[in-house]
């Protein structure tokens, strides 16, 4: 029987001719990643193993992005621990404030992931790099410690769900609407332990940024990874950002899938996930009157240049509604600079939005936009769990940058099709 794309990558990295769903394997790792929340625990565990060096100082990446720029003394201490470890172990890919960005936008941008890689990261959204045809998945700090020490990790080979995409999405529809639609359809555990493989002619109508957003939220359906085939769009991105050799894997024609879903992109509507789960979705036509206090545009899900461009396109020449705090976070310094050069930051600031340095900040209720009791935010982030952005009695609604920008203008959840010129 044939293998899925994910199974082929894992088989190769385990040195096996073939693997089957459910099989436990030991895989070689091409990159091990951690951030300022998870790496401190990993460093403590690494030190218990009793070895001096990491397995490969070029294959470990440390990105202090969550509570940075340091939000308080404890956060500063955690970042200091990582900085000192990176220095002592001569970690090549440590990114300090000023060059850092949100890890899942930064790592591909720095060319650290290419097609065919196996990547683990002590952050659940590590699955983002599946957009480049790599197997990448989130793990905990102890797995990160073991990965840094040995360059290997154990995996249970996943079975897969296949999503066959056809058609062309409407003008204000993005990868965010597609993935929210899918999570709404299969549920927050609909892909539990499994791969989500996205295929089909509709991919030609999804940009690399759309695909990063979709792979990023595979974990929100419980998925082990989300993965896309390597086409021209991927290769253009990879060649621009990396000089590493890559390997293109394709699913076998007779690969087995637990389920196959057909999705016509032309039928997808702007989609919003209501509190308190990402699968609690409604189309914009079913939203009703939802008044907001805050709009957040950014995060590892939607802080890329296309996202900032869409926000600027809608907000340019308009004003953020009185009483709404609209906060925009580009995901990396490069994206920040690009937005600056394209004049987008000026347009957004003129419209009354706050424009921030890159940080995960408000997405996980860290800092830079925390909600009070009873407050409501619409965010382009990835989770709307109880207390995610602040007070346990606050609410988070998830949507695309287009819906977010339109909603910032009206002060209530709004359809970009009606707001945009």
């Amino acid at each position: 029987m044939g293998m899925t794309m994910t199974q082929k990558i894992l088989a190769h990295h385990a040195g096996l001719p073939e693997v089957k769903a459910g099989q436990l394997i030991m895989s070689k790792l091409d990159l091990v990643l951690g951030n300022d929340i998870t790496a401190p625990v990993a460093i403590t565990e690494f030190n218990k193993i009793g070895i001096d060096e990491v397995f490969d100082k070029n294959k470990v990446a440390l990105v202090p992005d969550h509570f940075t720029p340091n939000k308080d003394i404890k956060a500063a201490e955690q970042c200091k621990l990582i900085r000192e470890f990176a220095h002592a172990k001569e970690i090549t890919n440590y990114f300090e404030i000023g060059e850092m960005g949100i890890e899942h936008a930064l790592i591909p941008e720095k060319g650290l992931v290419v097609p065919g890689d196996v990547v683990i990261g002590a952050d659940s959204h590590t699955c983002t790099y599946g957009a480049l045809g790599a197997f990448s998945t989130g793990v905990g700090s102890t797995d990160m410690a073991a990965g840094m020490a040995t360059g290997e990790s154990w995996f249970k080979v996943p079975s897969a769900l296949k999503f066959e995409l056809t058609g062309k999405p409407g003008p204000w529809i993005s990868g965010k609407d597609v993935i929210l639609h899918i999570i709404g359809m299969i549920g927050v555990d609909g892909a539990l332990y499994r791969s989500m493989e996205f295929v089909g002619e509709g991919l030609a109508n999804l940009s690399i940024d759309d695909r990063f957003t979709m792979a990023n939220m595979a974990i929100e359906a419980g998925g082990k990874n989300g993965i896309f085939p390597v086409d021209e769009v991927v290769l253009d991105y990879v060649k621009e950002h990396s000089c590493r050799d890559y390997t293109v894997y394709k699913a076998d024609p007779d690969a087995e899938y637990d389920a196959v879903y057909q999705i016509d992109l032309s039928t997808i509507r702007p989609t919003v996930a209501f509190p308190h789960l990402p699968d609690n979705t409604r189309t914009i036509d079913e939203v009703g009157d939802v008044k907001l206090d805050q709009v957040v545009i950014g995060s590892c899900t939607n802080g890329r240049i296309e996202d900032i461009r869409v926000a600027a396109k809608i907000l340019n020449g308009k004003k953020v509604a009185k009483g709404i705090r609209c906060i925009i976070f580009p995901a990396t310094q490069k994206i920040y600079l690009q937005a600056l050069r394209e004049g987008l930051i000026e347009q957004l600031v003129e419209a009354g939005a706050a424009f921030s340095t890159p940080t995960c900040g408000p997405c996980l209720g860290g800092h830079m936009g925390i909600l009070a009791k009873g407050e409501r935010a619409l965010a382009t982030t990835n989770r709307n769990f109880v207390g995610r952005m602040g007070h346990p009695e606050s609410e988070v609604y998830l949507a695309s940058p287009a819906v977010a920008a339109a909603s910032a203008i009206t002060g209530r959840i709004s359809n970009p099709e009606e707001i945009a010129d």
Partner: protein, 164 residues
């Protein structure tokens, strides 16, 4: 090995943000984390939980972030074992890796109620509801995972491998 304790019962999709809210993640000290364990879903939990007590939940326990702080907080709060219909995959790995015993058992998740006295045999996977006089059989772990558990977690396992 076995554990016995009083059950705290929760529903579907208990996420890591309610197990340990991110606002407390500026430390990785398990004792500090444990003080806020389950705070946003059950503010009484940390005041009532005793050493050896057991958490039982429905589907997808531990969904959301990769924070190992979640199983660390639960373990340090004194919980001896978590039983659920299913676990989110990163939580599952993390629990095994840090040596927090977990069992997948849909029948137990249905049969056990809050406050029940429950006994778990780690070797056989037999879960006994002392209050209701019922037993449930959990899925046994594959051999490799049993080795991890026996070693007391992944780091000890690697140290043992290195020593050999």
């Amino acid at each position: 090995m076995e554990a016995q304790g009083t059950v705290f019962k929760y529903g579907n999709n208990v996420d890591t943000d309610v197990i340990i809210p991110a606002r407390y993640l500026n430390t990785s000290d398990p004792a500090e984390l444990a003080k806020h364990c389950m705070e946003d879903i059950d503010s009484e939990f940390i005041h009532k939980v005793k050493d050896g007590d057991i958490i039982v939940a429905d589907k997808n326990f531990g969904c959301g972030s990769s924070r190992e702080h979640a199983p660390l907080a639960i373990k340090k709060a004194g919980v001896s074992v978590v039983i659920a219909s299913t676990f989110a995959r990163i939580f599952y790995r993390n629990a095994l890796n840090i040596g927090l015993p977990i069992f997948e058992c849909p029948e137990a998740a249905v049969g056990i109620a809050a406050g029940d006295e429950v006994k778990v045999d780690f070797d056989t996977g037999v879960i006994t509801n002392v209050t209701k006089n019922e037993t449930y059989q959990a899925e046994p772990f594959p051999e490799f995972m049993q080795a991890l558990i026996k070693a007391g977690g992944l780091i000890n396992y690697i140290r043992e491998q290195k020593a050999q």
